[in-house]
Symmetry: C2
Subunit: 398 residues, 2 copies
């Protein structure tokens, strides 16, 4: 196992509520003899996990919070990327963590109190082992030979990494969207190891409509001639297909109302004509598609959306979510957003009801927002009003 | 102009409320000297329009109803396709019209009373001139050199075809979805020529979210390597991209609730594994995508979705729909479906309000259905309860 320093603070330029310059650590696990065996029977002889941490682990070790990222996220949840600083970029021009609004000194996830860990999921393209990693057996990238991964695999691997980091017990696991499903899975898979879970903009499983959107996104990727059945590394990337998939994703992350307010039917001043970019909403999606292609791997998109499809928390109760919840020992906070139609309030409410029926301690809040599913990333202030006390109070506070 | 017989009845096999075996007619219009000039300035020296008619025009000519088709529809709105009969197919195995449940003797659109006309829109691939038609100037298919077409163009051309058919005045124009927008455009463009319009599951314009879905569908088509900037006739078709676009379309035609009831998260018994068809909803979309590719032209999909994007009825009032409605002389029936999220009740209600505010005679009904946008095709009985009396009664009934 390798570990490196991760948080370096320079009070001269950064705001006082930032965790500062951050650096990712790596853990390398498993071996040819003892491979990581996935839930669906795949085998990986070597697994690397990229992670970041913020704040300090208390002597008793009771203040660790695991933050879980969503589909296109990474381990860089807060602060600014140290690698960028080393390239001579000033603070403002450096890459902020994806949840920097929530994690920092005095923030909702308060790094003056808590030791915060974020790990990049298996199958991703941001430092942890994924389809773009080299398969030692062939000397070439895994591509489609990478095994299918599940939310259950991610959580099991995260637990292994925490063992390595010396974190025995978690004060809390917090996540939104696919990250919220990981938080829920933690409560179910390791009831003895986590005291609180916050499940934000997430449900025990994806709806038929959600499955359908993922299927179309994958169809677009696999239709791209450059995809070559996933074996495109070193050659042209399936950029067009991945862009289409991301454009579609973005429609599901925004609310209909939010899109109407933000774009309406306004035309771009510099219209391309014909089937090019004419409307502002087309321009927005086009930009989202293009920029995603520069930062994400198409195979990772396939693997991670499939994990999202397969996830079903009720399997812990033989298909009955109330039964499944009986396993849970943690206090649970469930937050939905009224305009989220990917994991709609209705689905979150059913989770809260299953928790209540099974006698668990649950707080369910449905927040109002125009931002749809994205609200869990955008509505930091409102979300913090519920998340901060949930993390800082309660029967198990130390 | 050419015209052929269209309706032939064989009472031996067909149900008594069917219009029977049908045959399309064609009208050829315009010339090199007097071309059809589109709203956006394109020129077509020759335009063919395919149409079907059912029932008989009354001596006074006051019983004509124009039925408008939606995105992927055609002129074959009712009965069974005579061409199939000539291939030796029995009644049951022949292709039914897309609105056969609504059009026929005694049905909501009663062919014992009314002379019903349905025309295929310009830009389509079902008999009317479109991007797949031969450009006489080059001897090759138009492809992307076909001019952009608009709902306004369609309605203007339909009016020309009615002139040729000897139909001066319309008792009614009826349409759903993009067909509903054509009905609305009729009321605005030809207030002196139509007495009633029924606008079903349609609004004065598409929302930002609707524009976004169309943009992603076109992105998928144009990303297909076989698309070759629209110049694919005679070669491999952009099947994969068109399939993805259609899959996406189908998500927007169904309601979230309907999808959940129909498919839920059920897995197929014969699962393909990996990123193949695993869930029933994937199988459904896969089938819809594949079968669409066999019957629709990708370029037509681009042109027709763009017409849908551009349509904005409020332009008749300088952007103010209430102002626009002052042009209307017809009685208007507006029907929305509670689970339709492509043209949601909210948007239809705004149309009804604009009509009311401008002093028009309007009936607005929001019907309950699990079928989402597709309800206008599926909920024939419920829809008929409102449409039939609207067509058969009222101040202008003759």
């Amino acid at each position: 196992m390798e570990r490196e320093n991760r948080t370096i603070t320079h009070r001269d330029v950064m705001p006082s509520d930032s965790v500062g310059w951050t650096e990712a650590g790596k853990v390398r696990l498993f071996s040819e003899e003892e491979p990581f065996v996935t839930e669906l029977g795949g085998r990986l002889p070597s697994v690397e996990v990229e992670y970041e941490t913020y704040g300090a682990l208390s002597p008793g070790g009771g203040n660790a919070i695991l933050v879980e990222h969503a589909l296109s996220g990474d381990a860089h949840a807060a602060g600014r990327d140290r690698a960028w600083r080393e390239q001579g970029r000033p603070w403002r021009a450096s890459r902020p963590g994806w949840w920097d609004s929530m994690i920092g000194p005095g923030k909702a996830i308060d790094t003056d109190r808590f030791f915060v860990i974020c790990q990049n999921v298996l199958g991703s393209c941001y430092g942890s082992t994924g389809p773009g990693s080299i398969d030692a057996g062939t000397g070439r990238p895994y591509g489609r030979s990478f095994p299918l991964v599940t939310v259950g695999d991610w959580v099991r691997l995260q637990a292994r990494v925490l063992d390595e980091l010396g974190v025995e017990r978690l004060h809390a696991v917090v996540g939104g969207s696919l990250g919220g499903q990981q938080a829920l899975e933690w409560a179910l898979a390791y009831p003895g190891r986590v005291d609180r879970v916050a499940v934000l903009a997430a449900a025990p499983s994806l709806s038929a409509q959600g499955l359908a959107f993922n299927a179309v996104g994958r169809q677009a990727i696999m239709s791209d001639p450059a995809f070559r059945n996933g074996d495109y590394y070193g050659g042209p990337l399936p950029a067009s297909g991945l862009a289409a998939a991301r454009m579609l994703g973005h429609i599901t992350y925004l609310s209909e109302e939010g899109m109407e307010l933000k774009f309406g039917r306004r035309l771009k001043p510099e219209r391309e004509g014909g089937f090019g970019v004419e409307f502002e909403v087309e321009s927005y999606l086009d930009h989202q598609g293009r920029s995603f292609v520069e930062r994400f791997d198409a195979n990772s998109y396939l693997y991670i959306t499939r994990a999202m499809d397969y996830y079903d928390a009720s399997r812990w109760g033989g298909g009955d979510m109330t039964e499944a919840c009986r396993r849970i020992a943690a206090d649970v906070l469930v937050v939905s957003f009224d305009t989220d139609w990917l994991y709609p309030p209705k689905a979150c409410r059913l989770l809260a009801r299953a928790l209540t029926r099974s006698g668990r301690r649950v707080t369910y809040v449905n927040l109002s927002s125009r931002y749809g599913h994205d609200a869990f990333l955008v509505e930091a202030e409102e979300l913090g009003r519920f998340l901060k006390p949930f993390l800082e109070q309660g029967r198990r506070a130390r």
